[in-house]
């Protein structure tokens, strides 16, 4: 692969998705560059999560193609995309609540670093991998050591979110796709999750879907804003000052004071 930091890792070409008569994603072209930290912003119902689900293989697009490093992956299953190096998290934390924190991590670790063949699954015990260096290290760096033996269903939302991201990072994917990783978290927890994500910057390509801009301020390197299934702005944070964005996002007319936008964003 190219050493150029601007080489494209994921590309969407004219991707559309309809649900009945609603066009959730409308002819979107998008490029995600290697090792960047990018964001998809937009108000509720803007099509961010649907677009994200198209990228990760949760849905198949009605039109268009998804390319991963130049290769067409549109028809690949989620498992095949995982094997290529794409790993996602879910908006509503998606974990195995009936397993311990460590065993959740073991499952993420085992698939990524060993195998998913039934024979390997049968001949390896969880116990053997619970003390693996990588798992211990990630428990420590995500501040989850205390709760390692606890069932996930007994965790708080912040801990669960951190654990889900830990699972994704443990798999050492090329692209980390995070669907609203900060939703529903308290301020202190948001800081914890962002601290964890900051450690990954430069190691992986990170794409974050986020609803609240204030959460990810000074974290994203490049962002797009979606509205009614289309990308209406792209670039740095300055693109949020785009009148169209302000109108769609905060229902603020271009004539209003910019401080009102800042107020609404937080």
């Amino acid at each position: 692969m190219s050493e150029d930091s601007r080489s494209v890792i994921i590309k969407a070409e004219g991707v559309s998705k309809r649900f009945g008569t609603v066009v959730a994603v409308d002819q979107v072209d998008y490029q995600l560059y290697e090792n960047e930290v990018a964001g998809i912003l937009g108000s509720n119902g803007a099509g961010k999560t649907t677009f994200f689900n198209l990228l990760t293989g949760y849905f198949l697009p009605d039109e268009g193609r998804i390319l991963y490093r130049g290769q067409d992956v549109t028809a690949l299953t989620p498992q095949q995309r995982v094997a290529k190096g794409m790993m996602r998290t879910f908006q509503l934390t998606s974990t195995f609540d009936n397993l311990s924190v460590t065993d959740n991590l073991v499952l993420a670790f085992f698939r990524a670093h060993k195998s998913s063949s039934l024979w390997q699954l049968l001949t390896n015990t969880c116990k053997k991998h619970r003390k693996d260096e990588k798992i211990l290290a990630i428990l420590a760096s995500f501040d989850l050591e205390r709760v390692g033996d606890r069932l996930v269903r007994h965790l708080g939302l912040g801990e669960k979110r951190r654990m889900e991201i830990a699972m994704a990072i443990l798999a050492e994917p090329k692209v980390l796709l995070l669907d609203e990783p900060l939703a529903g978290l308290a301020e202190s927890e948001i800081k914890g999750v962002l601290d964890v994500l900051r450690k990954q910057v430069g190691k992986q390509t990170i794409l974050i879907v986020e609803h609240k801009i204030s959460h990810v301020e000074d974290f994203l390197q490049r962002l797009i804003v979606m509205h009614e299934g289309k990308i209406i702005a792209e670039g740095g944070y300055e693109c949020l000052q785009n009148p169209e964005v302000r109108k769609s996002y905060w229902q603020i007319d271009a004539t209003d004071d910019a401080s009102a936008a800042a107020g609404a964003a937080s």
């Binding site: 995982v82 879910f90 311990s100 390997q120 699954l121 606890r150 798999a171």
Partner: protein, 322 residues
């Protein structure tokens, strides 16, 4: 410490079953041991993979009839018969599994019940030529004596089935501790996430289906050898809930649940049926009571108390079973 504890547990359980043999009638003990194997398969499906099946008698019958066909038409060695029975169950579940495991749990329950109905009528009416319909197949006198453990002698059969039950139990204990066991629990509650971690839900479930139903077929083959007789009654849909009842009675997803459930169920059946005519009515009420009060079943409710009492320590909050 933990490892020591479960080995002690299982040794104690099977030793107790062995000792109980001295005080309790042999047919009862044999019934308990075979039933607990039957329930272990069901317990794995419900507790680990989250599939409730009301069609377990079908798989019991596959094992029993495969074994019976062998012993009635071909050979005389009961060990080979049991092996044939297990293989029969294995092959059938490999064939129908790919169709069934795609279903959601509620449909899975119903489609299995339908299978039990089909198997019942196949053995009773359609394949009368080889199954002898309601008369069943009798082959008790054909079963040959074998050296060491002679399965034609009930007390030998008991030792054999006890050993086999311990083996099956240890196998499920091993599965529980494996990465595969964790995958089963994972696919039970969040198949989406498992898929997005890169695992194949389908093959994980198919394997669980095959393992559980081969265990059930093993129980069927053991019934066949023990009774020297099979009839369509074995696949009767009216007995469809039995293994599920035993599993729930014992405690879903617990390793000792099937054994405790089988003892409780067979015991109640034996004792209560002698005291009152309609023992099934009593069991019905008892089940309602258990569902409402102690949804963890007998073992599931007793285990924490016992553990506290025996080891004087709080039970650790480790891997769950529900």
């Amino acid at each position: 410490m933990n490892a020591l504890r479960w080995w002690w547990g299982i040794l104690l359980t099977f030793a107790l079953l062995g000792i109980a043999r001295v005080f309790l009638p042999l047919p009862f003990m044999n019934e308990v041991v075979i039933f607990s194997i039957y329930a272990m398969g069901c317990n794995f499906l419900i507790g680990r993979v989250g599939y409730i099946s009301f069609g377990q008698p079908a798989y019991l019958a596959f094992g029993a009839y495969a074994c019976a066909f062998y012993l009635f038409y071909f050979g005389t060695n009961p060990y080979v018969g049991i092996l044939v029975g297990v293989l029969g169950g294995l092959i059938v579940s490999l064939l129908i599994g790919p169709l069934f495991v795609r279903l959601r749990s509620d449909y899975f329950a119903m489609v299995n019940l339908a299978l039990a109905v089909i198997v019942f009528y196949l053995t009773q009416k359609v394949l009368v030529g080889i199954t002898h319909g309601d008369n069943g197949l009798w082959f008790l006198t054909r079963i040959s004596s074998t050296p060491l453990l002679d399965l034609t002698i009930p007390s030998h059969f008991f030792i054999f089935s006890l050993l086999l039950a311990a083996l099956v139990w240890a196998f499920y204990k091993y599965l529980d501790d494996s990465i595969y066991g964790a995958c089963c629990l994972a696919t039970k509650i969040n198949e989406n996430k498992l898929q997005f971690l890169g695992y194949h839900n389908f093959s994980i479930r198919l394997l669980a289906f095959v393992i559980a139903n081969s265990t059930t077929a093993l129980a069927g083959a053991m019934y066949a050898v023990y009774l020297g007789f099979v009839s369509p009654e074995m696949a009767s849909p009216s007995r469809a809930a039995d293994p599920v009842i035993v599993t729930i009675l014992g405690g879903v997803g617990t390793l000792f649940g099937p054994i405790v459930g089988a003892i409780a169920y067979t015991g109640m059946k034996d004792v209560i049926s002698k005291l009152i005519g309609n023992w099934e009515l009593f069991i019905g009420f008892l089940l309602v009571f258990i569902m409402l009060v102690a949804d963890k079943g007998i073992w599931g409710s007793l285990a924490p108390v016992l553990e506290k009492w025996l080891f004087r320590r709080k039970s650790p909050d480790s891997r769950g079973h529900d």
